[in-house]
């Protein structure tokens, strides 16, 4: 399992599927990065307000613990602060970089056996409502998250980034450090596995 990713951006703005993003956004992003590198507190607050929710969602979907996800999301920004001086903006959204840090933070957290014991998987689904009709609803949210967490690390990333964060194949490729073709293959295999897991769960509950 690829627990840690080391990657270079494999995409540029010409290949980005959200190519309709105006250049003004790029300029604003570059300016924000410059302010972040200057340790401007207002810039960090702006980045936190803008991206912390998405980073939190990404971590929450992977770990299933709200409090841990909140703490790790903040940790992502602290680590971003430590590395912002060496970060160079090349057209890839800042959020993609934050996702990469979030991936590493999540992998570190998972690899810690002590923490895994402290925060057992009993919190899956958190405050989500109980499902009432198992057979009538293929993707009860609770089951869906549990099924996603059964995927391989790469497959989880692709599913969460593609469908829960709404990123394009090119952006996902930049984040996980694989070509777009590999992202499509991972997406295909992940969906097949998810369908199998959900079907198994339905059969188990109906038995």
């Amino acid at each position: 399992m690829n627990e840690r990713i080391f990657l270079r951006p494999k995409t540029d703005r010409h290949h980005r599927q959200d190519g309709d993003r105006p250049r003004g956004d790029d300029a604003a992003e570059a300016e924000l990065v410059a302010r972040l590198q200057a340790l401007d507190e207002a810039a960090w607050e702006e980045a936190y307000q803008r991206h912390a929710g998405q980073v939190y969602r990404y971590i929450y979907f992977r770990l299933g613990d709200q409090h841990v996800a909140e703490d790790l999301a903040a940790d992502v920004f602290v680590k971003a602060l430590a590395g912002i001086k060496t970060y160079s903006w090349r057209g890839t959204p800042l959020l993609a970089w934050l996702y990469r840090i979030a991936h590493n933070v999540t992998a570190d957290y998972r690899s810690s056996a002590a923490r895994r014991a402290a925060h057992s998987a009993g919190d899956l689904g958190g405050d989500l409502p109980e499902r009432t009709d198992v057979l009538g609803e293929l993707v009860a949210r609770r089951d869906m998250l549990a099924a996603i967490r059964r995927l391989t690390d790469d497959q989880q990333q692709v599913i969460l980034l593609r469908f829960y964060q709404g990123l394009s194949n090119a952006e996902v490729a930049a984040i996980i450090g694989k070509p777009e073709g590999a992202v499509k293959a991972l997406q295909s295999r992940a969906l097949k596995s998810l369908r199998r897991f959900l079907t198994e769960e339905m059969v188990r509950r109906s038995a």
Binding site: R4, I5, L7, R8, P9, E41, W44, E45, Y48, Q49, A52, G53, Q54, Y56, Q66, H67, E70, D71, A73, A74, D75, F77, V78, K79, L81, A82, G83, T86, Y87, R90, T92, W97, R100, I101, N104, D108, A114, R115, A117, A118, H119, L138, V139, R141, M144, I159, F163, Y164, Q165, G166, N169, G181, K184, A185, Q187, S188, L191, L194, R195, L198
Partner: protein
């Protein structure tokens, strides 16, 4: 159909499904159309599932901004210190001069004494063999006198370091004020409240914090100090003191291991959780009127001789002043207010090197 083609068609079907045109994309699929439809439908359900979930900032996440803000402030402080003019950060008497002074005094003296002892003994033995016992006493006296005179000459030629010996005495005592009129280096945070600035930049610093326990789970809990800053406290078998229960007010002594992670050496319950009987009679820590947290420099702070200091007293120090001190108030490690760098951190509490940090894209 090849695997690549299937993946490509599925991807198109997924994108088309988002725009309601999946049928067009699936028209090119022949035998796999049914499976493609199923998987594309599952993808749409994943999107729908995501849409049901709030993407806003949770209250806990909003609270955690304080952690990030504190890290930004520490980074700003570290950068200001790093960019301060070198002359301001250099002490009046560099540490190495004191080391040289001590070494230059002790080494020749030790050599001289060794020469005297060894030379005298050897000469005595040789004399006894060569000239007999009757003349031994006078020969030994002559040889020893000569050796003593040589040693005395050697000692007399030693350089006088620093112009006087008060400087040397300051290695274990009170340091002299710098000649440029800047604040003198002090031995501990207690002596100079403003030293908290330098203390903040020390790597893996010892801290004593007091706050309220929350999210207690296993060996970790979150400590919220009065300013709202949160610390993640880790305990282990070596941690002494009381068990931290949810809602209790505790005083934690430990080390920052990166970010706001604190490894607790000692945990003391100051006040029991609301509703529980207060079994502790520990007096509360006197706190500054503004409620500033009280990071405390401990044993490693004293002296410039880099020898271990007295045991940490675990008492709260002066309030941490995050504003930069006056010029000349920055004391590098090894001089006065700072202990030797231990290489366990970068001094600003961020980037703890656990491998989870960002990689340069």
């Amino acid at each position: 159909m090849t695997s690549d083609r299937f993946d490509e068609l599925l991807d198109r079907a997924i994108d088309a499904g988002a725009h309601g045109t999946a049928d067009d994309a699936l028209a090119r699929a022949n035998g796999d159309r049914r499976e493609l439809e199923d998987l594309a439908e599952l993808a749409q359900q994943l999107r729908a599932d995501a849409a049901r979930r709030s993407s806003g900032i949770t209250p806990g996440l909003a609270e955690n901004w304080a952690i990030v803000r504190a890290a930004v402030e520490r980074a700003q402080l570290a950068e200001r210190e790093a960019s301060a003019p070198l002359r301001e950060r250099r002490p009046a008497t560099p540490w190495w001069r004191r080391r040289v002074a001590l070494a230059s005094l002790s080494m020749p003296a030790g050599v001289a004494i060794a020469l005297i002892l060894a030379g005298s003994g050897g000469a005595a033995a040789a004399t006894i063999v060569a000239v007999g016992p009757e003349r031994t006493l006078s020969s030994v006296t002559e040889f020893s006198s000569a050796a003593v005179h040589r040693a005395a000459d050697s000692l007399g030629s030693l350089p006088v370091v620093g112009g006087d010996h008060q400087d040397d005495s300051s290695a274990g005592g009170t340091p002299k004020p710098p000649s440029d009129g800047s604040a003198p280096p002090t031995q501990s945070g207690e002596d100079a409240p403003g030293r908290a600035v330098a203390a903040t930049a020390q790597p893996q610093e010892d801290l004593t914090l007091e706050g309220v326990v929350s999210r207690a789970a296993g060996n970790t809990f979150t400590l919220t100090v009065d300013t709202g800053e949160k610390y993640k406290v880790n305990t282990d078998a070596s941690t002494t003191g009381d068990a931290a229960s949810e809602g209790a007010r505790v005083r934690v002594h430990g080390r920052l291991t990166g970010g706001r992670n604190l490894h607790a050496d000692d945990v003391r319950v100051v006040a029991a959780p609301p509703g529980a009987p207060d079994a502790t009679e520990t007096p509360s820590i006197p706190r500054p009127p503004d409620g500033t947290p009280v990071p405390t420099k401990t044993a490693n702070d004293n002296g410039s001789d880099h020898t271990p200091g007295p045991p940490a007293d675990h008492t709260p120090g002066p309030p941490a002043d995050r504003t930069p001190g006056p010029p000349g108030d920055h004391t590098p490690p090894g001089e006065g207010g700072g202990g030797p760098p231990n290489g366990r951190g970068n001094g600003n509490g961020i980037g703890n090197g656990n491998g989870g940090g960002p990689k340069k894209p």
